[in-house]
Symmetry: C2
Amino acid sequence: MKRVLVTGASGLVGRNVLQPLLARGFEVIAVARGEPQDPPVDRRVAWRQADLLDDSSRGELIAEVAPSHLLHLAWYAEPGLYWEASENLDWMRATVMLTSEFASAGGKRAVYAGTCAEYLWNSRPLEESSPLAPTTLYGIAKNATRQAVSDLAPTLGISIAWGRIFFVYGPGEDRRRLVASVARSLIAKERVATTKGDQVRDFMFVGDVGDAFAALTDSQVEGAVNVATGRGVAVSSVTSLIGEMSGRPDLIDAGALEQSQGDPDSIVADTTILTEEVGWTPSTALEEGIAATVEWWRTEQSTSIQVH
Amino acid sequence: MKRVLVTGASGLVGRNVLQPLLARGFEVIAVARGEPQDPPVDRRVAWRQADLLDDSSRGELIAEVAPSHLLHLAWYAEPGLYWEASENLDWMRATVMLTSEFASAGGKRAVYAGTCAEYLWNSRPLEESSPLAPTTLYGIAKNATRQAVSDLAPTLGISIAWGRIFFVYGPGEDRRRLVASVARSLIAKERVATTKGDQVRDFMFVGDVGDAFAALTDSQVEGAVNVATGRGVAVSSVTSLIGEMSGRPDLIDAGALEQSQGDPDSIVADTTILTEEVGWTPSTALEEGIAATVEWWRTEQSTSIQVH
């Protein structure tokens, strides 16, 4: 029996990994700090409430669930604050402790959410073996957590993989993030200022991110694995698509915002390991993903207007 | 006024840094978790008790002392256990928090104890810019702490240095460590088994380590700095010297212990930054340092026999 404990299950990636895991034959136990979302994603998912930063809450959860697999997505993710927050260090500690406890309870395979912010952003495309040089407390803590669990894994007798997430977008993302904020403004018929948008990024639809993590969890591939499309797209192409899908491209003031200093020209993954070793490829074209996201915000905003 | 807060002040390096700091004109506030040692090293040192892992204890200390300088030596250091202990993560978090609090209280210059265990142990001599590849939780946490405080320093408006300690020996070290355990056995006229001792290491007398950290704290040199002699010595030369100084070289069974697998042939520092930028050089020859250490254990053991 494959029983996977999914942490951060009510988060953006977490919500999108549950059904792909069920489809792969996993018994899925989803943990979130607050009340499980309503309605639950699928009745077959068992929800637990726990505070993973609390040693006794976390210990009890692991002992009770005794999962064979762990998909650990939980982390501090408050937009705008998470880059330099000390909470990154709390999550680093909790992740290492969780890994030990998981192994002690009989666990065999653990997969974690890493980040493209671990890399030195000067090479392209970024391979898993490319130089690492995190420049934020978030990237530093994620990178050190990867090192720590990799160091412990052989002694603990577990197999681990570390999925480095690039640029995720899709329904349900925080409204302050790029795709969400542009879509919301245009749907509300408000003007929106963007940078010129020459920066090239590796954008992946959240449904694909969830599916990729399910595949990675179900594989025996070890170490760092880029979870990305391998295709770079200019930010301006993404905002143009949002304009097109929302019917109001005229409301975008491209170039009205200065690009952040030091913002790299290109952050794109090499996805050879994901495609060849894990054997997984994305299925959602950018146009399709953006259309779904714009449509989701349109429904969300009209619902929101009706309610309030 | 230069006021330095020294953490881990009752530890091996800590006890040896207080007088050099006084000699450089610092007002010295020493913090230890337990009761200050008796007698205090110097009446001019003000001792404080605090648990640096406790947020309120640490916060109160910093607010009360408001130091201009911080020399942060405290860490988890239980011999045999510290390499893989989760306490490394607690100390990482506490160190980052301490750094923020120090800056908030008006602090300007912070110096930390790093370790040669941050390096990839395949190059020699090890320069500060040599590849890093810690393979223990201790090395991983120290390296990540260095990255974290380096990342935060510009925003906090402080100057920081990171002194990488190599192989320290001297009076007062834990009795389970190499020099101490060989010296104690020979003084007690017991046989002692050692490895063949071909491994070359950079050994530094603890009095010199303390003096070097005082100089580094008093300098404006930033970033990683090897705190070492720059001279490699075979472990067998060190144990032979202990045999000679204790008068019982015949009790050493060299080669009776297997060298640990993966133990590198050589771990020696390049000390160009310490000598040329900090302007400091060691003053204790190996023979002199070993003689002082053996003599210290002889007195210690005869006192210990009288007391019990």
